[in-house]
Amino acid sequence: MKILVCISHVPDTTTKVKFVDGDTKLDTTGIQWVINPWDELSLTRALELKDDPSTGVKSVTVAHVGGAGSEPTIRKALAIGADDAIRVNAEPADAYFVAAQLAEVAKKEQFDIIMCGIESSDYNGSTVGGMLAEFLNIPSVSAVSSLKIENGQAVIVREIDGGKETLTVPVPFVAIVQKGIAKEPRIAAMRGIMMARTKPIKLYEPIAIEPLTEYVKFELPKPRAACKFVDPENPKQLIELLQNETKLI
């Protein structure tokens, strides 16, 4: 079995974002780029599956749509343990564009399980995984919190609104993963970092796809009203304030 993990790279999750060019673009100065947290966890789970010989997982590939500037992110994934990587050499214009590029890669390389994160922490789309599956005409399972391979079959737990379902689905499929898929992200060991330097990154040129959306402007949230402090000796005051001012109690 071959697993593909799709990785996006995003500003470190503690970044205070700012915008430039009349609030049309992210100000990238000083930004620390990281692998999208979900993708780090899916990679971890893919590697765990590969570590267990009973699963029959033979290789874990990572794919990324992005310019040359994102190579460090890909190297990081290789250092963590991916066997090889694919980069589609294009700026990710929108989710539809990215999914279409990834679909081209997947058609050529043939994977059994494709893993995507439930959302990229930058544009919060939650859409690439499902679009990719549809481009490939294969099933997708969303909100996956556990992925196992038992007797050659994928056994999945997904979260539904108000519960969980355990299900099976034939390969190939796209698993759109969320909390629970792996405990802690695996980190790169020294050996991994050394080895990553020699692992291959295959380059694909993009196919022509028109993005369907355009981000025209960003804004920061409106500042919230300053905090009103109540006397800690008299917590009842808090309840009274909430009752009078928010009318929710």
């Binding site: 919060n124 997708s140 056994v155 379902e165 355990t166 689905v169 369907l212 402090f229 929710l248």
Partner: protein, 321 residues
């Protein structure tokens, strides 16, 4: 032409989320000079279907087919695409919840329709069709133009107030041709009888400042008295002090209740990412410099263990219990 809304039902019933979606769709229908058609999948009584008229639906389609009894993302997307095409819908609205997020992207590819994902307001303009959505996990918002003829919006839960606009509804029950699902469900575990975190108007949430899983009694009692759901920060669920489904934040649930009461939560960016849509935030924390006070509108600097029992008493008094 119509605005099409996918109104999920829970064992044959709609809930507040369904009414938010239909109310929202009615406003867009008004802005675009058309009407609202809803579609739901499953076995539903006419009386329940009719309730959507109260929020502006004119046509309510109910589809029943055994092959749709489990959520198979592609089957659902196929059916919704068919309905959208036969209705000539130009705007399709689904909830930005687990199910909506599972279906909308596939629908987008089928119809070559742009998605505005996690939208929290009415469109800023109809021409060009510009939506307002959360980006960078709530630390900013974007104006996004959906450039295709057909548009899909996934609407954030609890972001749009219900509007009543009584209409007569036409109910249409239809069957469809659909393949046997590839997704085979073996086991279902439902959270029964518990208010869902994503549905709750008030949420009481505990962090590491609660000190021990044994200290949760008064927090849960406070939540019960307020008709609130309980939540927690990530370390709390990682430690197993509270169940995983209670974890809010960037890597947990994203919620937008009217009132979010935090107890012993520091207010890390990744936590706030999941709750910044809350109308009011309350912080109870013994450290006056904790970042949570920067986003809270009401604060109390004090020891959680001392404060919580007093809050419980105060609420009991108000509620006359």
């Amino acid at each position: 032409m119509s605005v099409l809304v996918y109104t999920e039902n829970w064992d044959g019933k709609f809930k507040k989320l369904s009414f938010e979606l239909v109310s929202y769709a009615s406003k867009i229908a008004e802005m675009t000079g058309t009407s609202v058609t809803t579609v739901t999948i499953g076995d539903m009584a006419d009386d329940e279907l009719k309730t959507l008229g109260r929020y502006g639906a004119e046509k309510v389609i109910c589809i029943k087919n055994d092959n749709l009894s489990v959520l198979d993302n592609r089957n659902y997307a196929t059916v919704l695409a068919q309905v959208a095409q036969s209705e000539g819908s130009k705007v399709i609205i689904v909830a930005n919840n687990n199910r909506g997020k599972a279906i909308a992207p596939m629908l987008s590819v089928k119809l070559k329709a742009a998605i505005g994902a996690g939208v929290s307001q009415l469109p800023l303009s109809i021409n060009p069709f510009t939506v307002y959505k959360r980006t960078f996990s709530g630390s900013s918002f974007a104006h996004v133009v959906l450039k295709t003829d057909v548009k899909i919006i996934t609407l954030a839960q609890n972001s749009f107030d219900i509007i009543e606009s009584n209409r007569d509804v036409k109910i249409e029950k239809i069957d469809v041709q659909i393949d046997v699902p590839k997704t085979q469900v073996k086991d279902v575990q439902k959270q029964t009888g518990k208010l869902l975190l994503t549905d709750a108007e008030i949420v009481v949430s505990g962090g590491r400042g609660m000190k021990s899983p044994d200290n949760w009694g008064p927090l849960v009692e406070l939540a019960d008295l307020l008709g609130a759901a309980t939540a927690c920060s990530r370390p709390v669920s990682d430690e197993g002090w509270r169940p995983h489904e209670e974890h809010t934040g960037q890597t947990g649930k994203i919620i937008a209740p009217n009132l979010y009461i935090t107890v012993g939560i520091s207010g890390a960016t990744q936590h706030i990412a999941g709750v910044s849509g809350s109308k009011y935030i309350v912080a109870i924390n013994n450290d006056k410099s904790a970042p949570i006070f920067e986003v809270a509108q009401y604060g109390l600097v004090g020891d959680a263990q001392k404060v919580l029992p007093k809050l419980v008493e105060a609420v009991k008094e108000i509620k006359g219990k």
